[in-house]
């Protein structure tokens, strides 16, 4: 059992480390962004220590698990295909089985989707004066996407926000575990929607908001799960 004094010391050390990382990410000491970063670093440190305290040794991750990262990544991709197949079978009225992966594998590559005409590579529109000017502006400002790219980000953000509605529906109709599942999924969608919105609005300081939400979501959901398991 770790003493509270050690936990406070660990939180303080993490706070200093996260603040340094935040300052390095910003790249400068800004009177507006630096205090926000330090506050988020405090939240992250408290969330990390609180999660370790709530999770205990059950969720301790050994260092050797880092070597398994490629396998984990492949498992994530494979499981995504499996649950997609299960959903398609369920929508078709068929019972789920173990051969779902084969039915989804053929859907993974769809050549041509999202790709525009080959003229965008610059070979066939080289004489267009307007195109040259536009490319010249983009070359001088590489960090700023064109206006139509921003609309794509905002559209994705709106779509991700709409994904919260099914979560609300499930939370209203389901039992306690269903509500927790809905909360976790809604939290993920909120973080992603904020991230896309911030990118669409080109406000770098907004990234701190989704960063703080992503960090705080984990201990809150974990505590909900632990409370449901123990006391409810």
């Amino acid at each position: 059992m770790i003493a509270w004094k050690d936990r406070v010391l660990a939180a303080a050390a993490l706070w200093v480390a996260f603040s340094a990382i935040e300052a390095l990410l910003v790249g400068k000491i800004d009177p507006q962004e630096t205090p926000v970063g330090i506050a988020i670093a405090l939240l992250a440190a408290l969330a990390t220590v609180g999660s370790l305290a709530a999770g205990g040794a059950r969720y301790a991750v050994p260092i050797s698990a880092i070597a398994q990262l490629p396998r984990i990544a492949w498992s994530v991709v494979r499981d995504t295909a499996i649950v997609t197949g299960a959903l398609l079978r369920a929508l078709g009225g068929k019972p789920p089985d173990d051969r779902l992966q084969r039915s989804v594998r053929s859907r993974r590559r769809r050549p041509g989707v999202g790709r525009g005409p080959r003229a965008h590579r610059g070979r066939h529109v080289g004489l267009a004066e307007l195109g040259r000017r536009r490319r010249g502006r983009r070359a001088r400002r590489p960090d700023r996407p064109p206006a139509d790219a921003m609309s794509v980000w905002l559209l994705a953000s709106a779509a991700l926000m709409l994904g919260i509605l099914p979560c609300v529906l499930l939370a209203a109709r389901g039992n306690a575990i269903d509500r927790l599942v809905a909360l976790e999924l809604a939290s993920v969608f909120t973080v992603l929607a904020l991230l896309a919105f911030e990118q669409g609005e080109q406000r770098q300081s907004f990234f701190d908001l989704s960063l703080a939400l992503a960090v705080v979501t984990f201990p809150s959901s974990l505590i909900f799960a632990r409370v449901l398991r123990r006391w409810l």
Binding site: H120, R135, P142, V188, Q199, Q204
Partner: protein
Amino acid sequence: MAVSIDHAIITVLLAFVVLIEVICCAGILVMKTPLQRLHYVGPAAMVCPVLLAIAIAVSKNPLSGAGLKAVFIAAVMVAFGPVLSHATGDAAVSRRGPGHP
């Protein structure tokens, strides 16, 4: 209209993010038990942040502040997503018993 290759990549990545979101939303509504629904949290929590971080890294300089923060957010969600799913599944099994999915 000339479309840059970066814009095409970003559009495809965001389309995949929205597609996975639709799949997950439909999954939690169609599936019957909490453990089945829990399977649809994983793709949204682990694949979507990675795709979104890649899209932001393509849009901006990956070593910029926003790019690094997006990568950090994706890393946090990828690292914590399985733990949350396991804890939630553990709670579901504990409440209903292992013989009742």
